[in-house]
């Protein structure tokens, strides 16, 4: 391996070095500073005689005398089942004082695209125990469903609730699952604060979830450039556990906004032509290469389900990060600041939320035959109730018809009864749907035009006594 002391330019996270051999694109580089510190980087552009290197740890301490070594291979993640229970840094090195990790394989972190022909369509329902998700925006195995949130919202609690609860039924059902696929959580933190990280870790430890989890930690004060490799490390590990070791893997990535900021930083340092709001023009492709690593593969028992979390700058979902994400992922869950300030737990706004794979994952034989109808009807009714709230502000409740008042009551009850379940309550789907029917029964039967008549017969509550309790409680 040749060593060069030929650095010609250092700019932001980038180092340019002259070389006299062919260096492959994306190759891994080690830079040893005069102080003996070793930094790692990756080739961003390779031309004859000159390469551009992005340094993960940042370029401080590097001078023109630093020596540069090209390792002749692209970045690899050492993977093994023993990673479960371990805490690693953003570049995949253990930081939990545990034993050394002996890898079974070293896999390229830039995963190749899954052949669409080899995929299996996801349609296995995951019970998260959260009504707003199970009932209205059902998650299925192999889906990528991000949480769109903004600063100061309890998105982490929601993610933890999902990770905690989604795993439980799987273990109970152990015997139905003849292949014995187990559940694993891989947690990738990118640029979150140490405090947030502690919350996650405490929760992992409290619930004993750590032993079937792998944690990758890139904290806010860790090098920003490292964030661009953290999710790739995470997903490489996830794919290994899912498709070679048959685990059902739930990947939580937080916070994608920090990841995109890091991309922008590198783009700016390279003086690239910027796209919208200064983010690089290839951000869609880059994000797609992460999100599309969710899924199921024919003939393999495991699955990779992704829940990326992103905080929308200014709570604006037209910002490039949520916008591009929404075009790639299969739906999104909105955490709403207004609902949060009303004290709803979790403060999920179901109206803009969506799960694209829901229709194929629910219904007879999968969840319950009336699931689709109930969900559609509640959507329509809640949307109507929401509209009427604006009107009430102007004309007052008395000016509205009896029908309109029922919709207003429905919308209120929907929030307090259905959505606001608390971060520690685990609701079974059956319970979620029953609450749904309790609420729908507040409306006149004729209004239920999205539900098949047979289900109205079966589930509609004819007596009003149950409902009055709720209305009185408002």
């Amino acid at each position: 391996m040749k060593e060069y002391q030929t650095i010609t330019e250092i700019s932001g996270p980038l180092v340019y070095a002259e070389v006299d051999e062919a260096i492959g694109y994306d190759e891994i580089v080690e830079i040893e500073t005069a102080q003996g510190e070793t930094l790692r980087g990756q080739v961003l552009e390779s031309s004859e005689g000159l390469v551009a290197i992005q340094v993960f740890e940042g370029t401080s301490g590097i001078d023109q005398n630093a020596s540069v070594r090209f390792l002749g291979e692209t970045m690899k993640m050492p993977v093994t089942e023993d990673l479960l229970g371990r805490v690693l840094d953003g570049s995949g090195r253990p930081i939990d004082d545990g034993p050394e990790i002996v890898p079974e394989e070293r896999q390229d972190i830039v995963g190749a695209a899954i052949n669409p022909y080899s995929r299996e369509y996801p349609e296995e329902f995951i019970e998260t125990g959260v009504s707003a998700i199970d009932g209205m925006n059902t998650l299925v195995r192999g889906q990528k469903l991000p949480i769109f949130s903004s600063s100061g919202q309890p998105h982490s609690q929601l993610a933890m609730q999902i990770a905690r609860q989604a795993s439980v039924p799987e273990e109970e059902e152990g015997d139905d699952d003849e292949d014995g696929s187990e559940f694993a959580v891989i947690f990738g933190a990118m640029g979150i604060t140490a405090e947030e990280a502690n919350e996650f870790m405490e929760d992992f430890e409290r619930t004993g979830a750590l032993e079937r989890s792998v944690v990758f930690m890139n904290l806010a004060d860790d090098p920003a450039v490292e964030r661009t490799v953290t999710p790739r490390m995470v997903l490489t590990t996830a794919e290994y556990l899912a498709f070679e070791k048959d685990y059902h893997v739930l990947v939580i990535l937080t916070d994608m906004t920090n990841y995109c900021e890091a991309l922008r930083e590198i783009g700016a340092a390279r003086e690239e032509v910027p796209g919208r709001r200064g983010y690089p023009g290839y951000m869609y492709t880059d994000l797609a290469q992460l999100y599309e690593r969710a899924g199921r593969i024919q003939g393999r028992d495991g699955s990779v389900t992704q829940i990326p979390i992103l905080t929308m700058p200014g709570d604006d979902d037209t910002h490039p990060i949520p916008d591009l994400t929404g075009y790639i992922t299969e739906g999104q869950i909105y955490v709403d600041p207004d609902l949060n300030s009303q004290g709803l737990q979790p403060p999920v706004n179901v109206l803009p939320s969506l799960s694209r794979l829901m229709d194929d994952g629910i219904g007879e034989g999968l969840t319950r035959a009336d699931h689709g109808g109930v969900s559609d009807q509640m959507y329509a009714a809640y949307a109507e109730g929401e509209d009427l709230r604006d009107l009430v502000n102007i004309v007052g409740r008395e000016a509205l018809s009896e029908r309109d008042n029922k919709y207003l009551d429905f919308a209120d009850a929907f929030e307090t009864e259905f959505v606001d379940q608390g971060f520690d309550t685990n609701r079974e789907l059956e319970e979620t749907l029953e609450i749904g029917w309790d609420l729908l029964s507040m409306l006149p039967k004729e209004e239920l035009n999205r539900v098949d008549e047979e289900f109205i017969e079966e589930y509609y509550r004819e007596e009003d006594d149950e409902r009055e309790v709720v209305e009185a409680a408002d």
Binding site: S46, Y117, Y121, I328, L351, D360
Partner: protein
């Protein structure tokens, strides 16, 4: 160049630099748009810029690990597709590599690099049946025989356009029925040329046609809001813009499933892998509503998902439309769905920015509008060079950032296409599907298609449509007042109009794509549904005039049954009965 035959490579070069999908090479003797093989692994690429001794190449595969000094081979031919039997019931990536074959060749569910496969099976034998005899005169594009490609489609074997000059004819020297693979000669021509089932065509060049005509037949989609209000013609162009989650893909899938075209080419351009898998799993099982055969028998799929190489995303649209044009030449009506053209435009932007070209609006290259126009102009109702008529309808989904229709891709598309189906996030949020906004959408084909609907459905089709549009327009105006003062403050007749409009919206415009019956609505049913609502309208206004209070009219028992027409299989009887019940009930009030 085509992958079906190995061409001799000429003028090799050496890689000078690598930056993502853009590679530059020196000493390469190449023309613009030549296909080249890059590096030791032979990754496929295309020449996109030549400057002095330096050639810039966009590579269709991941370039990790490729470095300077590695060789670049030129094939000397532009990017082409293999045309011939076997394109239907197939699934390709953006450069027409069959994904099922790749899976076998790579032995892994992941897409490896440097593996190539011809677009059509070169060894499969097809039963060729001549339709001309020795001595018959043939010209360019003339059909010499057919093979049964799938249960639904007879593939017509044509004289390739480059075998003869324009207008020139020659005689068939020999032709035999029998079993051939696509490379074997099935007919010899008098001028020495031979005809096989296999043709190649450069994707960026439209296939020749005799004449473009005004389209006058609708592409019936079985979707009420499309057929009823905003129809597209066979040979027409349409855009479906909408923010994420508004139902672009479901609308495209519905069209692919139920549009009455002979052939469907579905291009998944930079979209989700799971969505393509859904198509791959669903289509072979779904029945073609026209003949009960599997839908895949008339479908060719191109799946270049968002994580597949960006350069192949740029080319997948061209691959799709070239395949569509080939079937058009056989005299078929082809419908091409491109989901989504924004991803295609972004691929152009990404490549353009790597080339450090001067950006136009929002970073898109200045040639964006021209490329979009060139693509949509390849659609149309054509008189083919062989005298048959065929059409290519192009339906492009657009994914505007933030759902803002003023962005360049939407705007440049709208300048070209004649049908605009605007998807609306508000409607989607309240689960009004298809969430096509009836105020913003339009179809410029309406007038030229009316005679067809009058002849094939009902004479007063245009009047009924206009009535529905008027009611919906009035509702929009009234809603503004309702927002201020509440519904009860409106006079009775206006309250009634709102109620009528509600049925139009909820029963007529909404359609459940996941309901086995409602998912496809023939134009006759669309028509009957509308007349049922109109019956209610007419009778209700008569009752109102006779002094019946509006609350009583709205509350009649039979009218909510309108909402269930969509799910009725025997809708004629149901509608008949319902109309009678509504009339009777309303008349009994006065």
């Amino acid at each position: 160049m085509s992958k079906a035959e190995s061409t001799e490579t000429t003028g090799d070069g050496v890689i000078q630099s690598v930056s993502g999908p853009v590679v530059s090479a020196r000493d390469l003797d190449a023309r613009m748009n030549d296909v080249v093989y890059v590096g030791d692994e032979g990754l496929m690429g295309e020449v996109i810029e030549i400057e002095g001794n330096i050639t810039t190449i966009q590579v269709y595969e991941e370039t990790s690990g490729v470095g300077p000094g590695e060789p670049v081979e030129n094939t000397g031919e532009p990017l082409s597709v293999d045309l011939g039997p076997g394109m239907l019931d197939a699934i390709y990536d953006g450069v027409q590599r069959p994904l099922d074959v790749l899976e076998g060749k790579m032995g892994s569910p992941y897409l490896d690099r440097g593996v190539d496969a011809p677009g059509i099976d070169l060894e499969k034998k097809w039963e060729f049946e001549p339709t001309v005899e020795v001595g018959d005169e043939v010209g360019r594009g003339d059909v010499v025989g057919i093979v049964e490609e799938t249960v639904t489609i007879d593939h017509k074997v044509m004289v390739p356009p480059d075998a003869l000059e324009e207008g020139e004819t020659t005689e068939i020297a020999s032709i035999e029925p029998g079993s051939f693979d696509v490379t074997e000669t099935v007919a010899e021509l008098d001028n020495g040329e031979s005809v096989s089932m296999h043709q190649e065509w450069p994707v960026r060049e439209p296939r020749p046609s005799a004449n473009k005509k005004t389209p006058r037949t609708p592409l019936v989609s079985g979707q009420r809001i499309l057929d009823g209000l905003f129809p597209i013609a066979k040979g027409g162009t349409a855009a479906i813009p909408g923010p994420f989650g508004s139902g672009k893909t479901v609308t495209q899938h519905q069209l692919a499933k139920y549009a009455d075209a002979d052939i469907i080419v579905y291009v998944g351009c930079g979209e989700r892998g799971n969505e393509m898998t859904e198509v791959i799993e669903d289509f072979p099982e779904l029945e073609d509503p026209a003949n009960g055969n599997p839908l895949m028998a008339r479908t060719s799929l191109i799946a270049n998902t968002s994580n597949m190489p960006v350069a192949a995303r740029e080319s997948c649209i061209y691959t799709g439309i070239t395949i569509a044009e080939y079937y058009r030449d056989m005299g078929y009506d082809v419908a091409l769905m491109a989901d989504s053209t924004s991803r295609w435009a972004e691929a152009m932007r990404e490549i353009s920015s790597r080339l450090e070209e001067m950006p136009g609006e929002e970073g898109y290259p200045a040639y964006l509008a021209a490329r979009l126009a060139q693509f949509y102009e390849r659609a149309g109702y054509f008189e083919n060079v062989n005298g048959t008529e065929g059409s290519v309808s192009a339906i492009g989904a657009v994914s505007p950032p933030g759902g803002d229709f003023s962005e360049p891709v939407t705007q440049n598309t709208l300048r070209i296409v004649k049908t605009f189906w605007a998807l609306d996030a508000d409607l989607a949020e309240r689960r009004h599907f298809p969430s096509i906004n009836w105020n913003e959408s339009y179809s410029l084909y309406k007038n030229q298609l009316d005679p067809w609907f009058q002849e094939n459905v009902e004479e007063d089709w245009p009047e009924k449509r206009q009535w529905a549009v008027d009611v919906l327009d009035e509702e929009t105006e009234l809603q503004e007042i309702v927002q201020l003062v509440g519904k009860d403050a409106l006079p009775d007749d206006q309250q009634l109009t709102l109620e009528i409009a509600r049925y139009l919206r909820e029963a007529y415009l909404q359609q459940n794509a996941f309901h086995p019956v409602d998912t496809y609505c023939p134009p006759e049913k669309t028509y009957l549904m509308l007349t049922t609502i109109e019956t209610f309208n007419d009778e209700a206004f008569d009752a109102l005039e006779a002094g019946v209070p509006v609350e009583e009219i709205i509350d009649i028992e039979s009218v909510p049954r309108i909402n269930r027409i969509g799910v009725q299989e025997d809708y004629e009887e149901y509608v008949e009965e319902l109309k009678a019940d509504i009339t009777e009930e309303l008349r009994s009030l006065y």
